[in-house]
Symmetry: C2
């Protein structure tokens, strides 16, 4: 590891492969125990190499967040992909291209797109209806059985449309203040989906109830009454998930290594080369009311130590990071050192960094964002 | 333009070349009128093509924010570059490589790096001392004449070190609430730099006082007592600069075109394909106390209309944007339409989008971030 650290000259996203594979296996096994389909979301890592680790753990079906990402993974041999983003009619040509070569599922969030799809779809696609179970971002309200039944009736009349089931994202769990609240929101989501399923009719043999958020998937011990889980962030976890109680610090698999460029003991600050273009501007609010753009860890022989209680990233501009540092952290930090930062939101950090370095010094690919 | 818009299938950063070149010429002329060196910061656009527009306007000296960016532009023939980021000792090899082929200026923010530089620098470099004039990010406090004199004395003893002057970034102007406040902060910065210059001694013939922030450079009519300006953001401007009074809406040269994927009239919301991985999570706080992640414009035959009073981007997740839309905007917006979003911070948006499309349909390069 020292040999690897000495090679690092600029902000570098370190990936603990062992932890990452541990996270993958834990979720695979949990899905197996509950007998649900495991369709991990690949938007967090966007990596063919990390995808391969999933494949080796038995994963065959995946979720992505864009048509381009679907194409990226389809070209690497993934043949069962759900694009978990509202169908964008402007990308119909690319969707047709993909639907012609793999088992593709798309997401519809309203009936308005159906006439367009009926006219333009050329190959069979699986269709999930996005259900709004309380996050209020997109989807049909879970209690609006009438609209949902109308959509299904229309889907059932077209042989190219294979109605697959209901998909939801309980994104409100990311704003929870406790594990109990996450579990309550999860249960509420399941109840709404089950009630919906009982109240609608379709001639399809199977209807999948699919949930996705990492907090629920991490905290629920056994999935009941649902059929599929689509977590993504759990592959790396991050500071936000740790604060929600979704993971332990020992499960967090990525850390941004940044060079120290200045010290200001008189105001308890350390300046590092590592800013908004590396970490993103996502933050959490500490109990003190201050914003943290990342937690601090010390890099060591085999990876990194526990989270420092003595400091946090208090500010970010384009390439600068400011670390608020207590006396201990300040005293042992020299200009030219590397400091480790646990990102608040690993999906956004990975998207900005566009690549990883494992603790063994291997480079790991990333699609390159957007 | 309609032909160009009809080609757009996913989030695309539109660049109004005419406005951009107008912004460049206005700043070039202002610098000429004041007789100051114009050394624009290229971190906003990170583009060889946009760099060429500067070159055609007579620019020869530039500023960048990373060693990699210096290398990128040096390879395109730029031979006078200031890296306006605290010297990172871990990148000494790359710095030596650059210093061996172009006129390179580096920034030192403290005396601790001097022994390392004395030992490792192999070619002459210009050296600016970063002065903290109140932003408190990095640099030596403007009133700490003793430390600054010590650094200069040490620089003056080494023939490879060419002490160039004092550089500051009045970043506190970005948090101003009025143009008057920006001008007050600018004047305070100039006063501090002038006082510093009068109080230190060097055997160099010329000492440059260099300022950089776009709000000051935009609002000051005539630069006096300083020698160099390094604005960057002004090349595109953005919502933050408009709110500070640094520009008119008609000077903003980039807009993110995003496809509409869902409408929710019952809660005054439109969902678009365009999220944090396209715009960044930077926001401004509206007078209502709400956060805006972007303003809305209607795309038209020749570019885009004025800012809509009737809506703004109220939320962002990874790929989703939520637009709070009044009745007019809601009524005229259909699924599949393109909406224009003025980014809050164009530097971060450009860094994420990694490329531009001009209103004439030409693709314009971007270094690709970090």
């Amino acid at each position: 590891m020292n040999r690897i650290l000495s090679r690092i000259t600029s902000p570098t996203l370190l990936l603990d492969k062992k932890r990452c594979i541990g996270n993958i296996h834990a979720m695979v096994e949990k899905a197996q125990r509950s007998g649900v389909i495991f369709r991990p979301h690949f938007k967090t890592h966007q990596s063919l190499e990390v995808g391969q680790w999933f494949r080796e753990a038995g994963t065959e079906a995946i979720t992505v967040s864009s048509v381009r990402m679907a194409d990226y993974f389809a070209n690497d041999g993934w043949e069962d992909i759900t694009i978990a983003f509202p169908l964008n009619v402007r990308e119909m040509e690319e969707i047709n291209h993909l639907a012609g070569k793999i088992k593709l599922n798309v997401l519809i969030v309203n009936k308005e797109v159906l006439p367009f799809m009926e006219q333009n779809l050329r190959h069979p696609v699986g269709i999930f209806i996005k259900i709004d179970t309380g996050y209020h971002r997109t989807g049909v309200d879970a209690t609006d059985h009438k609209s949902i039944q109308e959509i299904i009736d229309r889907l059932d009349r077209n042989p190219l449309f294979k109605f697959s089931g209901f998909l939801t994202h309980t994104g409100q769990t990311y704003k929870s203040s406790s594990s109990q609240e996450v579990l309550k929101l999860y249960q509420d989501t399941v109840d709404k989906l089950v009630k919906l399923k009982e109240n609608i009719h379709t001639h399809r043999e199977r209807m999948i109830l699919s949930i996705g958020d990492t907090p629920s998937c991490s905290l629920v011990h056994r999935f009941e009454k649902i059929d599929e889980i689509r977590p993504g962030n759990f592959v790396f976890y991050d500071l936000m998930q740790y604060h929600l109680g979704s993971c332990t610090p020992g499960q967090i698999a990525v850390v941004l290594a940044v060079p120290v460029v200045a010290r200001y003991p008189e105001r308890n600050e350390i300046a590092v080369y590592g800013g908004a273009v590396h970490l993103s501007k996502e933050y959490i609010t500490l109990s003190s009311g201050k914003r943290s753009f990342g937690s601090i860890v010390q890099l060591n022989e085999t990876g990194w130590n526990d989270i420092e209680e003595d400091g946090y990233v208090s500010g970010l501009s384009q390439e600068h990071g400011i670390i608020h540092a207590g006396r201990q952290l300040m005293n042992r930090t020299k200009i030219g050192d590397l400091i480790g930062i646990i990102p608040v939101h690993s999906c956004l950090t990975a998207n900005l960094m566009k690549g990883y370095l494992t603790l063994e010094g291997e480079e790991v690919d990333h699609m390159g964002g957007n």
